[in-house]
């Protein structure tokens, strides 16, 4: 008997005419690992929320069809009632943390589910150990990195021991090793796992079954081997291209020598060096917490190093992680014009270059997540910087949009130096001329 069953599910969010899911039917078997793929905005997250009962209970909207998990109809059982059978792990761990200390956070779900008090701490510490973060039990959650926080959220899932685990892009902020560890842990639970990912290589290597959602419709529901034949090639696993480690020949635009930086008493960067030359695209890689973002901010002039020297020539622009979150005006064209003193003509040109022509007067928060990211990109490209620094530009970006991003970045790359901080090695291989790999407390030589 199937653990989860979706029958002819059609769902529209409140006030939205177009359904987010149309006539979707599927089954998830106990212990099965399912990769849920599809473009951004195609309905993957909505489907996961339907399996958790959050659609329609939390979001409202129009719900037709039936979803049943462990024999419980989600229309009659609330998400809280389903929480002993279904656990969800969302994209941004910061939006899931309730408590100030790690062990209390992991205990929260068990307390809600009415676990016997005597069992709670042993289960909490067992889950923390299974997630490889027993040492963090007493730490305050605000002091943890994104990768550590995501492991805390996973430990909270492990502690509950649900039959169905729903993972909504859980590795988007993690380095390849961290992402692999999280997915391995989830897949070894013995529970059924449905994992939605925009870096499909890892889930496709581990899954039994593949679902592909496009425009709210389930267009592929097949065992892994069959799916690998039928999938859009953009989603197929592939190896990253080998990149050179030698610098280019163009004019030197940024030179950072032996730079170091600390946040309070925590050393973030220790004697790193980097040179960027006009015409080259450089990928900056390395594990979570190694200081990539700190180095990128030093290159961009947002942080001044405590030690070492930085020389910059020309205008430097920096696009932060999750840039769609940091839009400040009420019209797309105004947002794009901020960097050029309100010049709307240049702003409209920049919007057209990233494919947002026609959306100039829209409120940034009314744009889709992908459109918001492109708006943020236009907001830095408009300044025609000599040095462009992008921090994790592919986070949450689907494979076809990554291809578009590569095209946009390469189109004008000859006129500037581009530094891209990324965990996405395939993307790095597609866009960069060379790679700089940053190691903890060692010099990054380029």
């Amino acid at each position: 008997m199937a653990l989860a069953q979706v029958e002819r599910l059609t769902f529209s969010y409140p006030g939205v005419e177009r359904p987010a899911l149309s006539n979707v039917s599927l089954q998830v078997e106990p212990g099965e690992i399912v990769a849920l793929l599809g473009p951004s905005g195609s309905g993957k997250s909505t489907l996961l929320r339907a399996l958790a009962g959050l659609v329609p209970h939390f979001h409202g909207g129009r719900f037709d069809g039936r979803v049943e998990v462990a024999g419980r109809d989600t229309r009659r059982f609330s998400p809280a009632d389903l929480a002993d059978e279904v656990a969800s792990l969302f994209q941004d761990p910061e939006d899931q943390i309730v408590f100030g200390r790690v062990e209390n956070e992991v205990a929260f779900g068990l307390e809600n589910l009415g676990a016997p008090p005597a069992e709670i701490w042993p289960r909490v510490h067992g889950a923390l150990a299974d997630a490889g973060i027993a040492r963090l039990a007493e730490r305050r959650t605000e002091t943890l990195s994104a990768g550590e926080l995501q492991r805390v959220c996973l430990a909270a899932v492990l502690a509950v021991g649900p039959s169905l685990v729903l993972l909504d892009e859980p590795t988007s902020q993690l380095d390849p090793e961290g992402a692999e560890a999280i997915l391995d842990l989830a897949c070894e639970l013995g529970s059924a796992v449905v994992v939605s990912e925009q870096r499909p290589t890892l889930p496709l290597e581990r899954c039994d079954h593949v679902l592909f959602v496009e425009d709210g419709r389930l267009t592929l529901d097949a065992p892994r081997d069959e799916a690998l034949v039928r999938l859009d090639p953009a989603y197929l696993p592939r190896q990253a291209a080998n990149l050179s480690q030698h610098g280019g020949e163009g004019e030197s635009l940024v030179r950072a020598d032996n730079v170091s930086y600390s946040y309070g008493s925590a050393r973030a960067l220790d004697g790193a060096s980097l040179e960027l030359r006009r015409g080259e695209v450089v990928a900056l890689t390395g594990r979570n917490g190694v200081g990539k973002t700190t180095l990128a901010k030093i290159v961009a002039g947002l942080l001044e190093p405590e030690a070492g020297e930085v020389q910059r020539h020309g205008r430097v622009c920096y696009l932060s992680q999750d840039p769609g979150r940091y839009l400040v005006t009420e019209r797309a064209e105004r947002e794009a014009s901020l960097a050029v003193g309100g010049d709307l003509i240049r702003a409209r040109e920049a919007l057209a270059r990233v494919g947002l022509a026609g959306l100039e007067r829209r409120h940034p928060r009314d744009l889709s997540s992908g459109e918001r990211e492109r708006l943020a990109l236009a907001s830095v490209l408009v300044a025609e910087p000599d040095v462009l620094v992008l921090d994790e530009p592919t986070r949450g970006v689907d494979p076809p949009r990554k291809t578009d991003l590569v095209e946009i970045l390469l189109r004008e790359s000859a006129d500037r130096a581009t530094l891209i901080v990324t965990h996405d090695l395939v993307f790095a291989g597609d866009v960069a001329d060379r790679v700089v790999h940053l190691e903890a407390r060692e010099l990054a030589r380029a």
């Binding site: 939390f58 307390e111 008090p117 901010k297 696009l319 932060s320 940091y326 839009l327 400040v328 901020l338």
Partner: protein
Amino acid sequence: MSPVPAAALLAALAAVALIAERGLVVAAIAVGLFAACLTAPRGRRWIYLTGTLVSALSVFVLSPLVSHVGTHVIWEGPKIPVIGYLDVTSEELAAAGIQALRLAAVGLAFAAYALLLDLDRLLQAAGFARRSVLAVGLATRLVPTLERDAAGFVEALRGRGVHVDGIRGHARLLSPVLSGSLERALSLAESMEARGFGRAGRTRAPGPPWTRLDRLALVAAVLLCVGAVWL
């Protein structure tokens, strides 16, 4: 020490600091609490300690100027409308010193509460009005989150070469920061519901058993309060 007796002891020390008339007693409490706060991580403690110090110093500097007590004038200032003469007497200085010490002691008691106690467990120990208690806990965490979000906006704009200056510049960020925090709050509420919050039959993870130190702290808190009122 368990959070409940620790909180009771801190509250008692703050109450004694407010009630006690001898400066030496208040100073001793302030010094003891300051030493306790120094055991917290430097990155977290500085804002509490700076805030307390600035508030206490403000009271010490300003209150002699606006009060009119004593006859031993040590400085004669100009006459200001409404307030009157800005004279400072030795009696006013002594009173200002005591008030500043009181404020410092209360501020440091709050700092020790925020810095050293497991607030999660303290709030959960309430055992009743769980939703309200949790709301208080989340609101406590909201301030640093808003701070981080605002810093993110400023940084994103600086990354484009746009500098955020003055009240007007920062006011422009108010709306997006609040919108962002509403989105965060919705995501958190969704996550909490998915984790079973609001379900009937909730249990509570047992706190560590009270030690002799915990019991002593509670007795000390009661004795301090009684003693302060009596004496």
